[in-house]
Subunit: 379 residues, 4 copies
């Protein structure tokens, strides 16, 4: 059995999530290759060593450059803050490594394109961590749409709202700074729902008109709470979109949406039915079919189960529930099995990551010029 | 006790709803004036007579011109299809009658403005049937917003979606024709959610950018199902809006939204909390307060009860439920008590009806010119 | 058209509800007889006069004996506290009047039986105000069960929980006293869910074992809050029941169930599907069919609409909502149309009222003797 | 760091679940001991070898007797069908092994008591897999109850309903046979909700009266579908219970409850508030406080998050969701950390497992003798 050596860079929120998924993926899925947790990089050797022990990696380093050169590392897993994605990815690609990067792929569409083209030229495989599409429930939504059960899609409404910055006294952090994060809510959260829209509708978003606002314009300096620093990117953004086939859509995202803890949601209306979903109830999908007996029409709450994609690997009984880390485990399965098989493409890859960045940039531009923007005009 | 004589024109869907509300309003509310169901007009004397008997009106006519001239009629209640609102209203105003008109007030903002100015000049009172704001639950939402419980509003999301034309085989009717209906989903349904937005946010919508689509472009002729007729107005429309204070908003409306039977809904996000509501569960309001203990935060489902506006008149126990007609009964209470007291203003009146029409026209225009439109530029 | 003269005795909570229903019933339903609000009785002539004016009754009296003798009164509507039902009903029956009584029919099964037999002997029609079964949504449940859609019923779970006495500082009132109310939560609330069980399962409850508890054993005297009075009947009761065909059931009732404002609910499990309902969402029924495609199974939320029983009389659009008073309006329709037609039986009548009282007494007895009781052994 | 060697016997449904939890527990929790997956037993050496590879165990055997004698095995994990629990546990205890057994502990209370006393005498630690109490959401419920937020508990309603045998054509299996399973729905599912009741109320159940029914009395022989075999235990059972402090309760369980996929649920009513929970929405708890402002009362939906027990180890953001296997991972954490520390007691242990079996037997007995049974009279 082929071995796939993983090198993980960054062990904050999402690096920890990756590690939990690495731990359970082989048991859950019986992977097609042997997953080896080879190398882990953090900002200091000490922190790296601590995390390697916690997460089960063989070796560790305070210098990610060593990691990307390591011959036992087949894939570099980038879990750093956004602004480092590009530098690390380009360096790792130049070493011929496959790349598994968190989203958003880069601070700008231009950077994302450079990364995509570099990977393409180097013929390495890439995967971007848009993990919500790996959820069995959302895979079921995709299956229902693809099968034509709800007819042709005529409207997509999607949100990714959270409230992690809803309190105006929360000190500023890197998410609020252009140089570190790029866009604000759009980049951090909007990226997910934009990618979800493309995945579910099965069409690229081709034109957009957006509106954006920084509601809390300054925040306390974490080192001196009496001092206020400028928030440099948007707290909330909305956009009307059109998909390439003419389908209409609306996207909303906010990091100050009081009460939304995991407010990714979608309502997808077709000519024959409608799907409705909220990630806060991640194991249930609501399905309405207009073709039902008119006296028995209604939204049906389907609990994800073993008859739906990937669920049975976690549990053979329906309705027993899947968790946040489980969808990352599906992503890891896709990564490892995809790398195990030379002919298999990973999805969503850097090309898709670039497309998403381009749409986000188009929304930001349309907000500036106050009119619709063709996504293909961006770069 | 003063008498208020009502003359009702039109007895379809909404005229019947008005009549049920007229019947129960005096018992529910102990009105400040005696409500007299004086006169009823329909398209033929026979139908008028039949409906007068059913609905408890004293007299009937097949000619609405007689009704508006009748000295016992104090207020003319216009429940006809949209395209007749203007003619009837102007004629009745010229007779010095107060007007109670269904929405949308007119086919265009221009017509609506003419009606408003005529009423103003004649010093008659006017009321437009935006009945959803009369629901005790939505009045509670207004109370919560006004009291500052959820802080300053930073985002309004509202829909009025239904599926009455979702089936492509449903024959064409007057709703689909420009001359009879004016706008499509926007005029029929969008009017409600636009007015609701203004009521709840407490600010006028000042600029808009909209997108519209006729998905089912032709429908069978009801008289010859093999023959297809062109659908002349939009099936679905979406808009980004800004309120006069800068607050962002999104409006969605559709008449082909599979599964939505009474899909008026809103999510109102403030700096301290959020309100969420769906008219399909018309007696419950969801309220989230970000100021709650972080370990006990969540959306609370409040069942409307006697401690909330107007509910106690229907029932003194909480959670026992109010129905569609009950909110119209509140509207009738506002009408009769407002007419009983010379100093009292009715709301929402023709001025508000005009403002709503102007916003709808602005959305339609923005869709044509593909850029934002200042509402005040319309007329 | 035949005239039906109504004499109403008692105008508290439920008398007011009846009056609202009387007001709207003729418009909503186009009744088969002319409903005349003839006479109203209250404890003083002054209060009676005031209420008659508010509720639209022609005449009033401080002496209900006058009312029951009045030749223009065809049906006596008893809305007094429970302990007066029997005396009034027997007196009115002796005058040959039809009786429309609120529930519970009497303080004991023995009294209820006497009332039923008296009505039967006098050949007058009777109706008991178990209004929740008149709700279009519950009628839909009945229709689904009767049609066999969910197969044979194997389990009934029902509650009627409220929290009107949950606060231990709420002063004592007549509901807590044996002489005035008879049973506590069981009589006031349990009566509804027991009758609902019989209606929906379509079988009589034949044996029971119950448990009861007075949690708050004394309450402040309303006239002297420092003084405490004994609560004489149960705050909460539960029972296992068997229907005559062997079907199992569970009944729960409480007046101290914090958070339940209108907590009548049922879950009815059949061999092919399940129905679930909560009166707090009175216009939606949840239906699960085990015969659905296993990958598309789930509870469907059906919004009551014009294709379901009686709804269309209130509104011709689905999902627009019905209210608490509307189900009473259906009951009034049944009353008036039932009295208009000599061959029509009213339901639920005094016989059913007696059966319910007998079941409640059987539950109370089983609680005392700590073993199952055959309902037919009670009386 | 101490090593804890695990020997797993049985790799069906629940053995697989244990293995997934073993895989992720060290990463999620940074355990206090080194978890070693030492030995795995199955019915044949071949199957054992296959599963050992899939689940990451070092060695395997077709003979569990070898496993329990192995010096590297510190704890024997029993995931076999119910009827083997006793034999294996007693044998393993005689080898001085700690025991981690799935529920129900044994086929009868008598067997369970023998196991408990054997473990006590041998001074080995025991844990029974009542994993639903390990869910962070249910731990939050416990925390709320313990803190007194909802006052004194006055009523517990709990269910564990599923529909895995709802189809009458589903062939018979060991769950339906007395010798293999003991009780039916009560043993398989009821055990969970009975234990949950004791955990949450914080009191033992002291007396019960139950009702039971085998609805589908025979099922096809899986080897010959034309042949029918007798179902030997109950499909559904209900019971009224009293806790040792007098608190009332109701328990319902069924394996033919159409539509319930993971129908463990509870409603716990206190003197100041109420908690409501369904395992099908395993990451949300509904909390009602009667002490809230009366005009703002309602059930609040709390999404489990990092401020609640154990959640933060899975994810540091609220509302991101936990899955079925995650609660087993908490159980593994309790097991390993409990074994790592000599002074720590495991919970729920064999004593609790015995108590649960005794309650189940008491319910079954009460069904036979048709009267209440004191649980302490059982054994």
């Amino acid at each position: 059995m082929k071995k796939i050596g993983v090198g993980l860079i960054g062990t904050g929120y999402i690096g920890r999530c990756h590690s939990i998924a690495y731990a359970q993926a082989p048991t859950v899925f019986s992977l097609n290759a042997k997953l080896e947790l080879e190398y882990l990089a953090e900002i200091t050797p000490e922190l790296a060593a601590l995390r390697a022990k916690e997460f089960g990696f063989k070796r560790s380093t305070g210098n990610w450059l060593e990691l990307i050169k390591d011959p036992n590392v087949d894939v570099v897993d980038i879990c750093t803050p956004n602004f480092l994605h590009k530098e690390i990815a380009l360096a790792a690609i130049s070493q011929g490594k496959h790349i598994y990067s968190e989203k958003p792929l880069a601070l700008t569409a231009s950077d994302a394109k450079e990364m995509w083209l570099a990977a393409k030229a180097a013929n390495v495989k890439t995967l971007v961590g848009f993990n919500y599409i790996k959820n069995p429930t959302t895979q079921l939504a995709k299956e229902i749409i693809s099968s034509g059960e709800i007819g042709e899609i005529v409207h997509f409404y999607g949100t990714h709202n959270e409230d992690y910055l809803a309190n105006k006294n929360t000190p500023i952090d890197w998410h609020c700074l252009r140089e570190k994060a790029g866009l604000g809510a759009l980049g951090d959260l909007g990226a997910h729902i934009v990618q979800m829209a493309q995945y579910l509708v099965g069409q690229d978003i081709s034109s957009v008109i957006g509106d954006m606002q920084t509601v809390i314009t300054s925040r306390p300096d974490p080192n001196n709470l009496q001092q206020y620093c400028k928030v440099e990117n948007e707290d909330q953004a909305t956009a009307l979109v059109r998909f390439s086939n003419g389908c209409m859509g609306t996207i909303e995202t906010s990091r100050i949406a009081c009460g939304r803890k995991m407010g990714l949601s979608y309502v997808i209306t077709g000519t024959k039915g409608t799907i409705s979903y909220s990630q806060e109830r991640m194991a249930e999908l609501k399905l309405y079919l207009h073709t039902d007996d008119p006296a028995r029409q209604g939204f049906k709450t389907i609990l994800t189960g073993p008859l739906h994609p990937d669920y049975k690997h976690f549990c053979v009984s329906a309705g027993h529930g899947i968790g946040f880390n489980d969808q990352k485990t599906v992503e890891i399965r896709d990564l490892i099995n995809g790398l195990a098989n030379d002919d298999m493409k990973l999805y969503p890859d850097f090309e898709e990551g670039f497309k998403v960045s381009r749409i986000l940039d188009a929304i930001a531009l349309s907000n500036q010029i106050k009119s619709w923007v063709d996504v293909s005009d961006i770069i």
